[in-house]
């Protein structure tokens, strides 16, 4: 997530893992929890409330520079079940439509899915792919960039795929330099 980290593990997992490894040394769970600086879910609201300056949750790292990882704010009052099944149905429908050559239908289904889950990076990527088949190259570049902006930093495969799409689209647009640059970035995720 943060450029300085080499690990691709989500923060919580990394923190827990690292702490667990040190557990024998320290011998107390309490210390582990405090060192993870409010990483457990119940502590999150308190961090959202923290109004010092730009709200940013702290996280411990071992390097000489201290970097706080991003932690999403809590959703206590607004918790809903995730609309996974509705999105999955539409995703599948779009895939079927795409395979049968109904590209407009696939676009409509993906846009409908995006209304339900607008920050789903995979949906944006899927839409970029359909648009690629339709040769809407300028739109492909934008949709893939949008997907990358929303993608989990740890999802290297998705990021790589998006850069591949951008490279293809730029090449089709005649932007050879831009295509090369995108290919280079795609390769960095291999």
């Amino acid at each position: 997530m943060i450029a300085m980290h080499s690990s691709t593990m989500p923060d919580t997992a990394r923190c827990a893992g690292r702490a667990a490894a040190r557990l024998a040394l320290i011998g107390t769970v309490a210390v582990m929890l405090s060192a993870c600086g409010g990483m457990n879910r119940s502590d999150r609201p308190a961090q959202v409330e923290d109004r010092g300056a730009v709200p940013a949750p702290p996280a411990a790292t071992g390097s000489d520079t201290q970097i706080a990882a991003y932690t999403p704010p809590a959703q206590p009052a607004y918790a809903r079940p995730e609309p996974k099944r509705a999105v999955a149905v539409l995703q599948q429908r779009a895939e079927d439509q795409r395979r049968s050559g109904d590209l407009d239908g696939a676009t409509v289904s993906l846009e409908r899915a995006l209304r339900i889950a607008p920050d789903d990076a995979l949906l944006w990527h899927a839409l970029a792919e359909v648009r690629m088949t339709q040769q809407r190259h300028e739109l492909v570049v934008q949709l893939a960039a949008k997907s990358n902006a929303l993608a989990n930093p740890a999802d290297r495969e998705l990021r790589g795929s998006n850069w591949h799409l951008i490279a293809q689209a730029r090449r089709a647009l005649g932007d050879v330099g831009g295509a090369r640059e995108a290919e280079r970035r795609a390769a960095s995720y291999n």
Partner: protein, 775 residues
């Protein structure tokens, strides 16, 4: 047909001439006769042509229908039980004890049983089905099909009809076909208007006599002598002048119509033409629209007593107006029912039961109908780019929009109620404050609601589109985004000078802006300058940046108007509409990806074939990393800056970002901001542009908060792009460490973090101590 008519007309004239009885010049008579026959024939031909042109041309002049977005239902949908009920009401579904047909629902606690109507969408048909929806206060928990109890992953209700684009002569109609006319309606018409409709040839002399007799006996008009065909011709073709000549013409044309067209065609035309009421400037024509206008549901779903009321209105839509004259309407309706029973169309029991029913007319606005004029206005303007006006008013297009009727209703209420409260609290003249609200989906730019003024259900000045006002401090995010897009020079912690500005403008005038509180703050961190909306710091920053890059940022974010490069631009000397502002903030809300604000998803032709889709597009308007920094800063505005009042007005835990705006002498009060899923802009001011006495935080902000509180919102969760790193920084902007006094973690675009280090190192403080332990 024309030839048959010719002989009839000719015969009549011949007979008359014959009675004149001039035997001497039979050649002259014959000549005259031929002339008369020719003239009569020509006139009949002319009438026949008129009939054909009017009948066939006008019959299909169907206004475009405008639909709201369909309600999507799935486990996890943010549709509460309360909203679900309201949505069913918009659609005219009947609440019943036990669901037995389409468009009915029942409720037991959070368990809704709903049988939907089928509907043809732009991407195919949605079948009608009976489902059980479990909904709580926060959303839908589950949906199961009645038939086999299987879980339904995703379904949608048909969209509500929210308006139409009718022609300049203000006739609105929803076209119905003969097969869609309910039996009760046709029988009612036959019973009271034209018993021998299926037998006569367009004119019915017997019925004239009988009607005369019946009316004499009743002492009032209970029956009309005109056939349905004559009534159609009268409504359809002729001007409402009363004369014998007109009567004769009417009869002649009725004969022509009857000969030319089938009874079913005539009935269909009648059903679509008949005048049934007036809604402001809009004339309600036809039973199809009448059903929506009076009962908020399609014609096919009307029950006996409801169909009878529509028949009752035929005799005088204004006189029997059920909303204004319910007693009269009820009497007339019951008379229709009585006649239906007397003529054997229904049993006496059915009649008695129907007569017991109340009128059952919906409240005005129950079906939204033309209640969203501002939104329809936007739809019209967006359509005008692609369609000719006459196509919109005559081709029967079906326009699927992005309007969210639930949000629209809440937005209209939020604006009017809050402004009333403010007027009362401040002793302002009632109704002196005006406002506008725009709500759009944050990520795809779909306009969900548009309120053009406090009387949101009345057409008039559409402030959301046409109140072009200076935006004041709403412009500042564009200045700061321009700065943050240069990470080598500016970060959130970069010190900015809040010092006096004294400029000579090109016209020789001096420009000496000041802070709102007229204080000077000296050196402040960039994020603090925005959070506190410091004018002088912003002007100094903007002058360092130059006006051109700031203008470029504004255009990239979606401003389509010309922008003058005056220094006062930096403080919002730029006039925009609330919709323009919503576009700027949509670009920010979507992490720097602009989607043009859209009101339309798709257009279908009268045959349900897709004509056009308005697809989702995005354009990277600014570096997502810089936008992320700016948005963190706008969260700070809402948490502890000039919009901190939001904390008291919004539910706990709902994180939003936003910016207040106030213009000179407190003329315009603005607030623009966003949650994770919605972006909204509120403007409050006066139509005469006089000062309101309200800052952005005092006028528009509470309107905005009331709206956001009354609809479901996802808390803002800003995802840092991969270039973002967090660093601990002390109060003076030097790199510090967690646990050091006053240290705060700031996000930076990689490499832009401060180079200077504070004395407090990693080894100090509690955090450092614990980390040592963990190493």
């Amino acid at each position: 047909m024309a030839s048959r008519k010719k002989t009839r007309g000719g015969r009549r004239r011949k007979a008359r001439k014959g009675r004149a009885g001039n035997r001497s010049g039979w050649r002259v008579i014959l000549g005259l006769l031929v002339l008369v026959v020719l003239l009569g024939g020509a006139y009949s031909l002319y009438l026949a042509k008129t009939v054909r042109v009017k009948f066939e041309g006008k019959r299909w002049a169907v206004p475009a229908q405008i639909f709201a977005r369909p309600l999507e239902l799935y486990a996890g949908a943010d549709v509460s039980g309360a909203q679900l009920k309201e949505e069913l009401r918009f659609l005219g579904y009947r609440e019943v004890a036990s669901v037995s047909g389409p468009a009915q629902w029942s409720q037991q606690g959070g368990r809704f049983t709903i049988q939907t109507r089928e509907f043809v969408f732009w991407d195919g048909a949605e079948p009608g089905q009976a489902v059980v929806v479990r909904a709580s206060a926060t959303g839908v928990d589950s949906i199961r099909r009645m038939r086999d109890r299987r879980e339904v992953d995703l379904m949608r209700l048909e969209p509500a009809l929210v308006g139409s684009i009718y022609p300049a002569h203000n006739e609105d109609r929803v076209l119905v076909q003969r097969a869609e006319l309910p039996d009760h309606l046709v029988n009612g018409l036959l019973a009271v208007e034209d018993r021998r409709f299926f037998e006569h040839a367009g004119v019915d002399l017997r019925s004239v006599g009988r009607a005369l007799w019946a009316n004499l006996r009743a002492g009032k008009t209970v029956q009309g002598g005109s056939t349905l065909t004559q009534q159609l011709v009268k409504n359809f073709i002729l001007t409402p002048e009363r004369s014998l000549w007109r009567k004769a013409n009417e009869a002649l044309m009725a004969l022509i119509v009857d000969a030319r067209y089938s009874k079913d065609e005539i009935l269909e035309a009648y059903a679509n033409e008949i005048f049934l009421g007036q809604d402001g400037e809009r004339a309600i024509h036809g039973f199809g629209l009448g059903a929506y206008f009076y009962f908020a549901r399609p014609l096919a779903e009307l029950r006996l007593h409801e169909a009878a009321l529509l028949v009752a209105l035929v005799r005088g839509a204004s006189y029997y107006n059920p909303r204004r004259n319910p007693e009269r309407a009820l009497q007339r309706r019951n008379l229709v029912i009585e006649q239906m029973s007397a003529q054997g169309f229904i049993t006496q029991e059915e009649a008695a039961q129907a007569q017991q029913q109340p009128l059952g007319v919906s409240a005005r606005g129950a079906s939204l109908g033309q209640r969203v004029p501002a939104f329809v206005d936007l739809v019209r303007r967006q359509l005008r780019r692609d369609y000719r006006e006459e196509d919109l008013t005559s081709e029967g297009l079906r326009i699927f929009t992005t309007l969210d009727p639930w949000v629209q209703q809440k937005a209209a209420a939020a604006l009017d109620k809050r402004l009333t409260r403010i007027e009362t609290a401040r002793g302002l003249e009632k109704g002196s404050l005006q406002g506008a609200l725009v709500v759009a989906a944050a990520q795809n730019g779909e306009v969900q609601a548009l309120v053009g003024g406090r009387e949101a259900d009345l057409p008039g000045f559409n402030r959301a589109l046409d109140a072009i006002r200076p935006i004041g401090s709403l412009i500042k995010p564009a200045v700061y985004l321009t700065a943050l897009s240069n990470p080598d020079r500016y970060t959130l912690s970069t010190p900015i000078e809040d010092k006096p500005v004294d400029m000579k403008l090109p016209g020789g005038q001096r420009w000496q802006p000041h802070n709102y509180d007229r204080k000077l703050y000296g050196e402040v961190a960039l994020h603090e300058a925005l959070a506190r909306s410091l004018n002088l710091a912003t002007v100094n920053l903007g002058l360092q940046l130059g006006l051109k890059p700031v203008i470029a940022t504004l255009h990239a974010l979606g401003v389509n108007r010309d922008i003058d490069a005056f220094p006062s631009l930096l403080l919002g000397a730029l006039s925009l509409s609330p919709l323009d502002v919503a576009q700027i903030y949509q670009s920010l809300a979507a992490g720097g990806f602009r989607s043009p604000l859209r009101a339309i998803r798709a257009v279908l032709d009268a045959g349900q074939q897709p004509l056009q889709r308005y697809p989702l597009t995005v354009t990277e308007a600014a570096d997502p990393a810089a936008v992320f920094l700016l948005n963190r800063n706008l969260v700070e505005v809402a948490e502890s800056g000039t919009a901190a009042a939001l904390r008291k007005l919004l539910p706990g835990g709902l994180q939003v970002a936003g910016k207040t705006g106030t213009t000179n002498d407190l003329r315009d009060s603005w607030f623009a901001g966003f949650s994770a899923d919605r972006v909204a802009v509120a403007w409050v001011g006066r139509d005469d542009n006089a000062p309101t006495g309200l800052t952005g935080a005092q006028g528009a902000l509470p309107v905005w908060a009331d709206l956001m509180r009354s609809i479901d919102n996802l808390s803002l969760q800003l995802t840092p792009p991969s270039e973002i790193e967090y660093h601990w920084v002390d109060r003076s902007g030097r790199l510090s460490a967690q646990g050091c006094e006053g240290a705060v973690a700031f996000p930076y675009i990689a490499g832009s973090q401060p180079a200077q280090r504070s004395d407090c190192t990693d080894q100090q403080g509690l955090g450092g101590f614990l980390r040592d332990l963990l190493k």
